[in-house]
C-alpha cells in the first residue's frame, strides 16, 4: 500500500493492513487469493479422477490408486469447490470488492466492517470444507447436487461426517455472500460520485449488483432446504425420506430453484468484465449499453422460471417439463442479444490483441459453444437421452470455464496494474493464454462425443459397460485427460508471471490502458481512501474515439471544457 494521499492512519502493521483490514481492496485480495488457492485443490481433484478415467485401476502419480468411494468424493469436491469457492469469490467478491468503490468514485464500501466479516465467514466456510477431507469417512461423495436420500442418510453415503461438514460449509458460504451483497447493492445505489447517473455506471458494476440481487433472491429456499437436510442427517427427521412422508424431490426443487439463477450469478460478473475489456482494446464505445443492461435484467428474471430443466426425468409431472422447455429456450434470447452486442462492439474498432483482450475475445468464442449446446439439453425430448451424460458436462464446462477461468484471467490481467502498481509480462501472458485455450478445447470436445455415445456421469470405470468399454471411446477419454494435464502444466507460467510481476514488474502508471472508468484516475495501486480528490463524473464510461476530440478516449471524471479549450467544443452533456 503506497501513497500518503489520506494522511489519517497511523502505520498499521501487518495484521491490520493485510489480515484484519476493512479496506475493500484488501478484502478483495483476500477473496482473490483464497479463491485461487481453492482452485489448486479443485484442480488437483480433477487431475486425480481424470487420470483414473484414462488409466482405470492404475496408481495415479501424487495420489495412489483411486477407489470408487474416493472417486465420488473427488468429483463432488471438484464441482463444489469450483463453483462456490473459486467462481463466486473471484468473480463476485474479489472483483466486486475491488472495483465497485473505485469505479463509483468513492473511498470504500458503505459497511466496511460487515465487509470484513463477510470474508471471515467465507474463510471459515473454506476451512470447514477442506476439513471434510480429513474426517473419518472422508469428504462427502454425493455430488455437488447432494440429492437425498443419499445425502441425508449415512448408511447410504458412507461419508457421515463429510456430508454434514459439506452442508455446513455451503451454508456458511451462502451467509458470507449474503453479507457481501449488502455492500455491493447499497454502495452502488447510494454512493456514486456526483454526476454519475444510473446509465453512467460501468457495466461490470451493473452486472455484479444484478448478480447479487439474483443470489439473494434465490438462495433463501436452499438455505431452508439445507437446514432440513442437516436435520435429516443429524436428528433423524425425515424431510426427504419417503418412509416418513417426506419427499426427495423437494430437495431437488429447492436446490435448483437456487442452482439455476446461480449460474447467472457467476455468468453476469464475467460478462461484465468482458464488457470492460473489449471497449478499451478496440477503442470503441460499448454497443448498446442500455440493451445490455435490460437483457441482463431480463435474463435474471427469466432465470427464476427455468429450474426444472435439471429435473426433466427426475420423476416430476411430465407436463411440467413442457413448460420448462419453453422458458429454458426463451432465456437463450436475451443472452444471445448480449453476446451479439459484444461482437458488434468490435465493428469499426481499432483492435489490439493484448493479453486481457485475448481472454475477453476467447470468452465470447468459447461461451458461444456452451450456450448453443445448452439448447440440446433444454429441449426436453433430447434431454431424455442426453441427461446425466458427458454431453451435459461438456456443455456446462463450455459455460463455466469461460466464466470462472477465462473471465477471471481477463479481469486479473486487465486490472493487475491497478491492483499491484506493476505491469504483467505480455509474452508469458500470451503463452499461458494460447496453451490454456487449446488445452481446454482438447479436454471437452472429446467429452461431447463420449457423452453423445452414452458415457454417463460420475462413473469411475467404464470397463463394466460393454457398449462403452471400446477402444474408440477410451482413446477419447485419454485425450481429454491429456488435455487436462497440459492445461494444469501451463498454469505455473501464470503463477510465475503473477508473482514476478507483483514483485519486480515494470512500474505501472495510473492509466496504462488509456481507459475511461474512474478506477484508472486513482494511483496504481490506489492508497487507502482511493482518490487524492474524490472525482465528479461528466459522462458515460465508454466514450472511446469520440468524434470531435484529439484523444481516442475521454475519461469520465474529466470536465467537459478545460480552461485551455475556452472556445467551446460542445460538451457531451
Amino acid at each position: 500500500m503506497s501513497g500518503a494521499a489520506q494522511p489519517v492512519h497511523r502505520d498499521a502493521g501487518f495484521i491490520r493492513t493485510y489480515l484484519w483490514s476493512t479496506d475493500h481492496k484488501v478484502i478483495a485480495m483476500q477473496y482473490l487469493f483464497t479463491g485461487m488457492l481453492m482452485a489448486l485443490i479443485g484442480g488437483f481433484a480433477v487431475y486425480v479422477f481424470r487420470m483414473q478415467l484414462a488409466f482405470p485401476g492404475e496408481s495415479v502419480p501424487l495420489f495412489g490408486r483411486v477407489s470408487a468411494g474416493q472417486y465420488n468424493a473427488l468429483v463432488t469436491m471438484h464441482g463444489t469447490i469450483m463453483i462456490f469457492w473459486v467462481a463466486m469469490p473471484v468473480l463476485l467478491a474479489a472483483f466486486g470488492n475491488f472495483l465497485i468503490p473505485l469505479m463509483l468514485g468513492c473511498d470504500d464500501m458503505v459497511f466496511p466492517k460487515v465487509n470484513r466479516l463477510s470474508y471471515q465467514i467465507f474463510l471459515l466456510s473454506a476451512v470447514v470444507l477442506v476439513a471434510s477431507f480429513f474426517v473419518p469417512g472422508g469428504a462427502f461423495g454425493g455430488a455437488w447436487t447432494a440429492y437425498p436420500p443419499l445425502s441425508a442418510n449415512a448408511t447410504y453415503n458412507l461419508t457421515q461426517h463429510g456430508a454434514t461438514l459439506w452442508v455446513v460449509a455451503v451454508a456458511l458460504e451462502f451467509v458470507a455472500f449474503l453479507l457481501g451483497g449488502i455492500n455491493f447493492v447499497t454502495t452502488a445505489m447510494n454512493s456514486r460520485a456526483p454526476g454519475m447517473r444510473m446509465f453512467d455506471v460501468p457495466i461490470v458494476v451493473w452486472m455484479i449488483v444484478i448478480a447479487s440481487i439474483l443470489f439473494m433472491a434465490s438462495v433463501g429456499p436452499l438455505i431452508a432446504g439445507a437446514v432440513m437436510l442437516v436435520f435429516d442427517q443429524l436428528l433423524g427427521t425425515g424431510f426427504y425420506d419417503p418412509g416418513t412422508g417426506g419427499d426427495p424431490i423437494l430437495w431437488q426443487h429447492l436446490f435448483w430453484f437456487f442452482g439455476h439463477p446461480e449460474v447467472y450469478v457467476v455468468l453476469l460478473p464475467a460478462m461484465g468484465i468482458v464488457a470492460e475489456v473489449i471497449p478499451v482494446f478496440s477503442r470503441k464505445k460499448l454497443f448498446g449499453y442500455r440493451t445490455i443492461v435490460y437483457t441482463a435484467v431480463a435474463t435474471g428474471v427469466i432465470s427464476f422460471f427455468v429450474w426444472a430443466h435439471h429435473q426433466f426425468v427426475a420423476g416430476i409431472d411430465p407436463r411440467m417439463a413442457s413448460l420448462f422447455t419453453i422458458t429454458t429456450l426463451i432465456i437463450s434470447v436475451p443472452i444471445a442479444e448480449m453476446v451479439f452486442c459484444y461482437i458488434a462492439t468490435l465493428y469499426g474498432g481499432s483492435i489490439t490483441l493484448s493479453t486481457p483482450m485475448l481472454w475477453a475475445l476467447a470468452f465470447v468464442a468459447e461461451f458461444l459453444l456452451g450456450g448453443v449446446t445448452g439448447i440440446f439439453l433444454g429441449a426436453a425430448g433430447a434431454d431424455i437421452y442426453l441427461h446425466d451424460t458427458y454431453f451435459v458436462l461438456a456443455h456446462f464446462h463450455y459455460t463455466f470455464f469461460p466464466i470462472a477461468i477465462i473471465g477471471a484471467f481477463a479481469g486479473i490481467t486487465f486490472w493487475f496494474p491497478k491492483m499491484f502498481g506493476r505491469m504483467m509480462d505480455e509474452r508469458l501472458g500470451k503463452i499461458h493464454f494460447w496453451v490454456t485455450i487449446v488445452a481446454f478445447n482438447v479436454i471437452f470436445i472429446p467429452l461431447f462425443l463420449t457423452g453423445a455415445a452414452g458415457d454417463h456421469r460420475r462413473i469411475f470405470d467404464y470397463s463394466g459397460f460393454p457398449d462403452l468399454a471400446t477402444p474408440g471411446l477410451q482413446s477419447l477419454r485419454i485425450t481429454a485427460t491429456m488435455g487436462l494435464v497440459a492445461l494444469l502444466a501451463i498454469q505455473p507460467v501464470f503463477v510465475v508471471n503473477f508473482i514476478r510481476s507483483m514483485v519486480r514488474g515494470p512500474i505501472a502508471e495510473a492509466n496504462p490502458w488509456r481507459a475511461n472508468t474512474l478506477e484508472w484516475s486513482a494511483a496504481s495501486p490506489p492508497p487507502h481512501g482511493n482518490f487524492a480528490e474524490l472525482p465528479e463524473v461528466y459522462r458515460g464510461p465508454y466514450e472511446y474515439s469520440p468524434e470531435d476530440r484529439d484523444e481516442d478516449f475521454w475519461p469520465q471524471h474529466v470536465p467537459d471544457v478545460s480552461p485551455a479549450e475556452a472556445a467551446g467544443i460542445g460538451g457531451v452533456r
Partner: protein
C-alpha cells in the same frame, strides 16, 4: 448423429435422434455464423497506424438492427425447436400407449432386479420370472415398465432405447418402450447412488418371439417375493408419471 455411436433399438429412438439432429443443424449454423463474424471482425478491424476507431453507440435503430434481427431469428428457431422437442417428449413421457406386457424394475444399491410377467403375460402371478441385472424382452412388443427404488435415487437408463427415468424411493413410476431390434445392450444407472454407482451395469436382452418363449421355459423361477416399499405400504396405489 447419435446413431453413429449407439444402436437405435426402440420405436422412439429414431425420433429422439432426429430431434438431436435438428437442434444440431440449427444451433450449428448459428454457432458457425457467430464465430465467423467474430473472427472476421477481429481481423478486419485490427489496429492500424493512423486509422481511428469509429464512434457507434448502438442506440440508433439503423445500428441496433444488426443485433435485433439476428436475435429475432434466434427466437424464431427457438419456437421451431420447442415444437419439435415437445412432440418427442410427449410421445415418450406423457403418452402411454396400450401395453402388451408389464415389467417391474427395482433399483437398489447396487443392482437391478427385473420382474418379468412370465408366460401368462401378467405381473404378480405365480409364473413371474425374477432376474438380477438382466432384462429380457421380446422384440416389437410394447412394454409398460414400473420403476421402483428400495433406497436412494437411481436412474434407469438404456442408451440404445434413448430412455432415461430416475427411480425414486416411495414411488412407482410408469413408462413405456417397444424394442425394435434383437440384440444385447447396456443398462446404466444414471443418478449417483453411492460408491457402487458405477458397479451396477445391467444388460437388456431382446429376442425374437420364439427365442423369448424358449428363455421363459428354461429360466429359473425364483420364489415370488411380496413387493412392498415403506411408502407404498403407507399410501395406496401408484403414483404415475403419466396421465
Amino acid at each position: 448423429m447419435i446413431s453413429w455411436y449407439v444402436a437405435q433399438a426402440s420405436s422412439y429412438a429414431p425420433d429422439v435422434d432426429r430431434l438431436i439432429l435438428l437442434v444440431g443443424l440449427i444451433v450449428g449454423a448459428f454457432f458457425l455464423a457467430a464465430e465467423f463474424v467474430l473472427v472476421w471482425l477481429i481481423f478486419k478491424f485490427r489496429a492500424r497506424p493512423g486509422v481511428r476507431a469509429r464512434y457507434i453507440t448502438g442506440e440508433k435503430t439503423s445500428e441496433m438492427k444488426w443485433v435485433s434481427y439476428p436475435h429475432y431469428l434466434v427466437l424464431l428457431f427457438d419456437i421451431v425447436i420447442v415444437a419439435a422437442a415437445l412432440r418427442v417428449w410427449s410421445d415418450v413421457k406423457i403418452d402411454l400407449p396400450p401395453g402388451e406386457e408389464q415389467v417391474r424394475i427395482v433399483a437398489q444399491q447396487w443392482a437391478w432386479t427385473f420382474v418379468h410377467a412370465g408366460p401368462d403375460g401378467r405381473l404378480d402371478t405365480a409364473d413371474d420370472i425374477r432376474t438380477v441385472n438382466a432384462l429380457n424382452l421380446q422384440v416389437n412388443r410394447l412394454y409398460h415398465y414400473e420403476l421402483h427404488s428400495k433406497d436412494v435415487l437411481h436412474g434407469f437408463s438404456v442408451p440404445a432405447f434413448r430412455l432415461k427415468q430416475d427411480a425414486v424411493p416411495g414411488r412407482a413410476i410408469v413408462g413405456w418402450f417397444r424394442p425394435t431390434v434383437t440384440g444385447e445392450f447396456d443398462i446404466q444407472c444414471a443418478e449417483i447412488c453411492g460408491i457402487g454407482h458405477g458397479l451396477m451395469p445391467a444388460r437388456v436382452h431382446i429376442r425374437s418371439a420364439e427365442a423369448q418363449a424358449a428363455w421363459m421355459a428354461t429360466a429359473p423361477r425364483m420364489p415370488p417375493l411380496p413387493f412392498v416399499t415403506p411408502a407404498a405400504a403407507a399410501t395406496a396405489g401408484h403414483q404415475r408419471a403419466h396421465r
